[in-house]
């Protein structure tokens, strides 16, 4: 596992996301790393992140899958730049075009959640990311996320 998370390679302008921005002090600050050809992230839900008592609310699961996927897409696009002989200062920033989450079973809240993702397709500015979310060793939700690179030079 690398020392620095994908999200630590975003430029300051793109580090304010509630889900994954290192500058958003009230947000989840999720962190993603390569582990071989998979990207991983770990998140411990707070007790108030509940749906039905004992279980994680679906919106958090969707948020984790979303931000872990935009991070994975950004890291994959950065790797393409490196392969092409470029050396950008920051990771590109991706936004979500579509997010599909399948909730297979209730996700227990009293554990660290593990997200493992793979790049399913990378073409131009678009990356499709597949995600499994594990709780206590079981896959409780899966995701498929289409992310798109923010155009070069675009500023918020």
């Amino acid at each position: 596992m690398n020392e620095k998370a994908f999200q630590e390679f975003y430029s300051e302008d793109f580090s304010h996301c509630y889900g994954c921005g290192t500058q958003n002090k009230e947000g989840y600050q999720i962190k993603s790393y390569w582990e071989g050809d998979e990207s991983v992230s770990y998140f411990e839900p707070k007790p108030h992140h509940t749906s039905i008592p004992g279980f994680v609310y679906g919106g958090l699961i969707a948020s984790l899958i979303d931000c872990h996927s935009t991070g994975t897409g950004a890291a994959a696009l950065y790797d393409e730049e490196i392969k092409a002989g470029n050396k950008p200062e920051f990771y590109p920033r991706c936004v979500t075009a579509s997010l599909l989450v399948n909730y297979l079973k209730p996700t227990p809240i009293d554990c660290v959640l593990e997200l493992r993702a793979k790049v399913k397709e990378l073409k131009g500015k678009k990356v499709i990311v597949s995600v499994n979310l594990f709780a206590k060793g079981e896959v409780t939700a899966t995701g498929e996320v289409v992310v798109v690179r923010v155009p070069e030079g675009w500023k918020p």
Copy 2:
């Protein structure tokens, strides 16, 4: 518009959701109402609910679409019970089987978001809900959510 929101008809056991539980003091407490054959909900994002500065983060949009849809499914199933001559004390509680969100354009954060949903299909315990999310009069995201009724008598 009715005076009481769908979520105020959930039993206490099912009122702890971070997205829509009336008992979750740290949550979004989203409220949904019928308006003709559409269900509506309004939500004002906080400044920290950002993605890229100026825009709402996708996880919040997914959360609003999710909880508004489980509420709409519950209300629709309750109406079926009434048509069948029953008069349950509470709304049934639905959970999400799958959530699809299409992000059509960036959603501005400095406004009240409006969700409008319709029941696309209702069959047995399953309801499919279609949602449009409006910001400043424009549809910026759409959702399709499959929700399923929690079995009668199930307790958290």
